[in-house]
């Protein structure tokens, strides 16, 4: 991945909004390099600043500090007209789809081409092609109100691709969809990324979206990047508290931590098939309490995580640690009051 070129670079990006009484800081010193051809996830809780961040990437919001370098050009230095042209190389899709209600599907897709001054006939032909790519050829004459959420998002994706963009920005694109539809949209995005080499930036609050399709992820918390790296790396070894929060995900809902100490164990590849816990129980000579366990697919690897309750006696705890270390199983302490 290091051989790839940087397509978007955010350098010292900051954004401050003028609130009613005081200034509100939405982004603080954001530095990110997004490489051409990757799927990059930006995850954060609501209010973390991720929506502002994605709008700063295409300058829908003008950052108050720093700059965005897109394809070698500083967006800050562009005139309004040049900026509009630059935006045509960045498609964008939204949580609420944002289709034009009074235009049929085909004309929604040809809309950005119309804006760019492409002749009507040519634009409609391109729209038909795109409709085929997103698998909705039979809906060309339908209006958005006649489509399901997933279909609307497919139309929105087709529309975003119409101008052959280099980058596709997805702002919570699957957050209004049910799990099945979410998966199919994510698969479509992955397909588009692989087939056409379009760089995709996915803004989300759901770790499962990141795990399903992203190559790298940046975690944003309180207007700043808390950590950034390849998804599997962040999953194995989250460096920030917010990172652990996202990775533990469901576990947090299911275990009450009550200031107790837990170990989070990560498996991948082989260990996932080995009876680790049974072996641990045998080796340590006491039963181990499993608080939470799950397996997921990150990239093309199956990865598992398990949260076990740590014995209260120091001596027993040592045994567990020794066992995990001899078996070379990555683990980390998770404390209830952290969250």
């Amino acid at each position: 991945m290091s051989e790839r070129n940087t397509i978007i670079e955010l350098s010292h990006l900051g954004k401050e909004f003028q609130g009613k009484d005081a200034k509100v800081r939405a982004l603080r010193d954001i530095n990110l390099k997004i490489e051409a051809g990757e799927i990059f996830g930006i995850i954060g809780l609501s209010g973390a600043g991720k929506s502002t961040l994605v709008r700063c990437i295409n300058f829908l919001e003008t950052p108050t500090e720093g700059d965005v370098i897109f394809d070698g050009r500083s967006l800050k230095s562009l005139t309004e007209k040049e900026l509009r042209e630059a935006r045509r190389s960045m498609g964008m899709i939204f949580q609420q789809f944002n289709l034009l209600a009074q235009r049929n599907v085909l004309k929604n897709i040809s809309f950005p081409l119309e804006i760019a001054g492409v002749p009507k006939k040519q634009a409609l032909e391109r729209a038909k092609e795109l409709l085929e790519i997103v698998g909705l050829s039979d809906k060309a004459r339908s209006y958005p109100s006649q489509l399901s959420g997933g279909q609307k998002q497919r139309v929105a994706i087709a529309r975003a691709l119409a101008g052959n963009p280099k980058v596709l920005l997805c702002d919570e694109a699957t957050s209004a969809l049910d799990p099945n539809t979410t998966n199919s949209i994510l698969q479509l995005l992955k397909e588009i990324n692989q087939k056409y080499g379009i760089t995709i930036i996915i803004i989300t609050h759901e770790m499962k979206v990141v795990e399903a399709v992203c190559d790298r992820v940046a975690i944003i918390d309180q207007s700043q990047i808390a950590e950034c790296g390849p998804v599997s790396e962040v999953f194995h070894n989250p460096k920030s508290q917010i990172g652990r929060h996202f990775i533990l995900g469901d576990a947090l809902k299911e275990i009450s931590f009550d200031n107790q100490l837990f170990y989070r164990i990560i498996f991948d590849g082989l260990e996932a098939t080995e009876p680790v816990i049974a072996k641990m129980a045998l080796a340590c000579k006491f039963p181990v309490n499993i608080a939470y366990a799950s397996t997921k697919r990150i990239g093309d690897k199956a990865v598992g995580q398990m949260v076990i309750q740590v014995p209260e006696r120091d001596e027993d705890r040592q045994k567990v640690v020794r066992f995990l270390e001899t078996e070379r199983i990555p683990y980390e302490e998770v404390e209830g009051n952290e969250f």
Binding site: L60, R84, F94, N98, E114, S145
Partner: protein
Amino acid sequence: MSFDAQTVQMLAVGTLETLYMIFASAVMAYVIGLPLGVILVVTDKDGIRPMPVVNQILGFIINILRSIPFIILLIMILPITRAIAGTTIGVNATVVPLVASAAPYIARMIESALKEVDAGVIEAAKSMGASTWQIIYKVLLPESVPVNLMGAAITVTTILGYTAMTGFTGGGGLGGIAVNYGYYRYETVIMLVSVVLLIVIVQIIQAAGVKLSRKCDKRIR
């Protein structure tokens, strides 16, 4: 109080005059009011090209025109009417105060219709590199057509109500007949007949507006 051929003809001419007045003034009022409404939306502090000073001045002028009762406006602008139409009586002269009154009304109607357009759709257009002008004529106006058609029906019927008042200053149409015969000569039947004709016109326009609006609204299926 005879209902002879002459009276019937007078009422027929009055009806046509009324229709002429409302449509001529509606068209002209839209020519003025539509762009004003668009400017109000676009220059709003949350608009696509905020210009607070322009917005406030325009809003202020519109509010002043909107707050003068029509019957007063009618008399107040008589000199302007004479300057534009060459006379202050008759059908053509009536159009001037009608436009003066309807244009700011239309501006507000258009403003509220355009503000209903989903902000997300406007943002999407911006993300595609649409210019302010393109957002206006490719997003704001087409997306608000159904609401604006409903608004047009309401506007036209309001203008119709105003045409009746112009009867007092020598305007023509059914309003003039109702005033001249019904009010000044106590010929109640003629007044009632003109009123009934006015009611019929209102019903037709309102029904047509609703139907047209529904027909071109793609949101409801």
